[in-house]
């Protein structure tokens, strides 16, 4: 029981950065924009958050800087992919390559430094519950924030006028435009939200998960999140489930080692990536259902007047 509780708690921690970045990408894709730059934005968020937190001595400042950096990066993407109607694949790839290079350059002087990251904060009363108390209510502040953001996105998409507008733009930008919606503005806002969330996810890695900066520390999480959104068929509640599932896959090697199971670290480190491919394969058993859920205009640049 003790072991199970610990494993579940670690799963939530490992799943949180995925949840954050995938929620952002989900909103972005619901507006019809596919941003493959998640990995680059996350890295920039991670490095900016770490440097800001170390310089100011305040974790809040770090988180704030990470979110702003993520948004700034995403605006570069929006300029190319939304305003200039460039190929979204190429623009997103460029953002990832640019972010990987820039973050390594900016962070070169900070490798090996460490700070006091976010500590666990038990919520009174709730944290005394068996199992659940430890798993969900004895976590750091950003985990709670990720859950609040999850509920907000869920309600925003399904219960608000703004969510309806966003989805309308993603399904048919031309029809939305004909109805007087500002397609470009909606897409810019969605891309910015995605950037902010990716920045926050990066900050979670460098300020809470492992409070330090190392080059390429996201280890493909931005890419996994992209697969996660497809797997979740663009539904927030499935993103939550998927994120924790991946979290579990990425800490499995620690669990197995804890149980005295002898295997190579490198082989077990492959697991999250193998699981991602398996998930994509699993999905293709229902290709029709996936197509039904895909935002219709996803990946297609919108040019007014066409």
């Amino acid at each position: 029981m003790e072991l199970l509780t610990n494993v579940l708690a670690a799963t939530v921690v490992a799943g949180t950065p995925l949840l954050l970045v995938a929620l952002g990408e989900l909103v972005c894709e619901r507006s019809g924009v596919l941003n493959l730059g998640q990995e680059g934005m996350m890295l920039m968020g991670a490095v900016a958050g770490f440097i800001a937190a170390q310089a100011s001595g305040s974790l809040a400042v770090g988180v704030f800087a990470a979110i702003l950096t993520g948004i700034a990066m995403s605006m570069l993407f929006a300029l190319m992919a939304v305003t200039l109607a460039a190929n979204q694949y190429a623009a997103g790839l460029a953002l990832t390559i640019f972010g990987t290079g820039l973050s390594a350059f900016v962070g070169a002087g900070f490798v090996g430094h460490s700070i006091d990251g976010f500590g666990k904060l038990a919520i009174p009363l709730l944290s005394d519950l068996p199992v659940i108390g430890k798993v969900l209510f004895t976590q750091d502040l950003l985990v709670y924030l990720s859950l609040i953001l999850f509920v907000s996105v869920l309600l925003f998409l399904s219960r608000t006028r703004g969510g309806l507008l966003l989805r309308a733009v993603g399904e048919s930008p031309h029809a939305a435009n004909a109805n007087g919606l500002k397609v470009m503005t909606v897409r810019y806002l969605a891309v910015a939200f995605g950037g902010g969330m990716a920045g926050l996810a990066g900050a979670y890695l460098s300020l809470a998960y492992t409070p330090m900066w190392t080059e390429g520390m996201t280890a493909g999480r931005g890419w996994i999140a992209l697969a996660l959104v497809v797997f979740a068929s663009w539904r927030p509640e499935r993103v939550l489930l998927g994120a924790y599932l991946f979290g579990a896959a990425s800490i499995l090697h620690l669990v197995l080692q804890g149980l005295g199971w002898k295997s190579s670290t490198e082989l077990l480190a492959m697991l999250p990536y193998v699981v991602t491919i398996l998930m994509l394969v699993l999905l293709s058993w229902h290709p029709a259902r996936t197509r039904l859920n895909t935002p219709l205009s996803l990946g297609q640049p919108y040019r007014p007047g066409r």
Binding site: L36, L76, L79, M80, T83, L84, A85, A86, N87, Y89, A90, A91, L93, A94, L95, I97, F98, G99, T100, G101, L102, A104, F105, A108, G109, E215, A219, G220, W223, I224, L226, A227, V230, S264, E266, L267, A269, M270, Y273, V274, T276, I277, L280, V281, L283, S284, P287, P301, R303, P304, G305, R306
Partner: protein, 366 residues
């Protein structure tokens, strides 16, 4: 006011001017970056672009870095022409290095002219098999190739790390994660005596030549182009998209695999964990910068090879982080895509009375 207006016809001049413009913008940005860091910008740019290639040794090193970039980019060109977004050159490269190393370690005491071809073929076969996974996932299970190839890159890296820490580790290597040194028969001969430049560059140039011939002279090249430009037209014409996907992936895998095999049998001479500084990812920039054209990718691979040398030079001469290489590459790609927008768009002065983006019937795809 300044307006962004769609061109009636895509500009052929901009298509080739865009990479040069992007390079210029990157150099200008570099100038101001050096200035902002309080370094002498002209000296910095000279260390980056000129000093590394100012003698024969330097040029040989350039060729050494060009070889893997050119081989990976040649294969990716096939994929990107057909709009197959294969990001997996890094993984193919690593599997090529791994496959060749396994064969070379088996044949460490063997001698004869047959050893090297066998080692290179093992690398190409391993990499082609790795690419075949992504091809099968794409053609039979309809999985997005971007995501699968990226995941396969991470898996290949871990597989290589596992092998070099485990089965292939040199028992007398003082605990270092590296294989034994390969036998002399398994090493690539030098292209220019007295330098480290090896036969790999010749492979790369041959691959570029083959890419040129494929697209200029062959039916398969034509089919790949049509599938990329208009998949519906290709379907009506009866071009097998599946078959072409397999062809592009297998060639991309084999060529990147040859790059990896040449790297371990060339300058390194054994399998080590850091066999690639990201050649497979940089090759993506090479393809875009080289306009998916044989001659273009040769020039682009030389430029991007220089970014690796320039980064090392700046680290030595000005004590800057080596990551300046990645920064430069990222800036270059970013500026390139921005400039590419002006293949299809142009800026125009217009009076405020007629403000608003006028759209003209488009020709070609962005």
């Amino acid at each position: 006011m300044l307006l962004l207006e769609r061109r009636p016809v895509a500009s052929p001049v901009m298509r080739w001017a865009s990479p040069l413009l992007a390079l210029l913008l990157t150099v200008v940005t570099g100038f101001f970056l050096f200035l902002a860091m309080g370094r002498d910008p002209l000296a910095g740019l000279k260390f980056f672009f000129v000093t590394p290639v100012s003698d024969v040794q330097g040029l040989a090193e350039l060729g050494l870095k060009m070889a893997p970039l050119l081989l990976c980019a040649a294969g990716l060109t096939l994929c990107y022409r057909a709009k197959l977004w294969n990001i997996g050159a890094e993984g193919h490269f690593l599997m090529g290095a791994l496959g060749a190393s396994i064969m070379a370690v088996q044949l460490v005491d063997a001698q004869g002219p047959w050893v090297l071809p066998l080692v290179l073929l093992a690398g190409m076969a391993a990499a082609a098999a790795w690419a075949a996974i992504a091809a099968a996932l794409k053609t039979h299970l309809n999985c997005n190739e971007i995501l699968t190839t990226i995941m396969l890159n991470y898996i290949a890296l871990n597989l290589l790390l596992y092998t070099v820490h485990g089965p292939l580790k040199d028992p007398y290597g003082f605990g270092f994660p590296q294989s034994v040194m390969f036998g002399d028969s398994a090493l690539l001969p030098a292209l220019v005596p007295g330098t480290r430049l090896h036969l790999g560059l010749a492979f790369g140039l041959l691959a570029a030549l083959a890419v040129w011939a494929l697209f200029a002279r062959s039916f398969v090249g034509f089919q790949l182009n049509v599938v990329g430009e208009d998949p519906r037209a290709a379907a009506f014409a009866g071009f097998g998209a599946r078959r072409l996907t397999w062809f592009a992936f297998l060639v991309a895998g084999a060529l990147a695999g040859l790059a990896g095999a040449s790297e371990v049998t060339g300058p390194i001479g054994q399998l080590v964990p850091q066999v690639s500084p990201g050649y497979g990812y940089t090759a993506i920039i090479v393809v875009f910068l080289g306009r998916m054209h044989a001659l273009g990718i040769v020039a682009a691979s030389a430029l991007l090879a220089l970014t690796f040398l320039g980064g090392e030079m700046l680290q030595i001469a000005m004590n800057l982080p080596k990551a300046v290489t990645g920064l430069f590459q990222g800036l270059l790609l970013f500026f390139l895509l921005t400039c590419d927008a002006f293949i299809h768009y142009r800026l125009r002065w217009r009076g405020p009375a007629t403000a608003g983006v006028r759209s003209v019937a488009p020709a070609g795809e962005a």
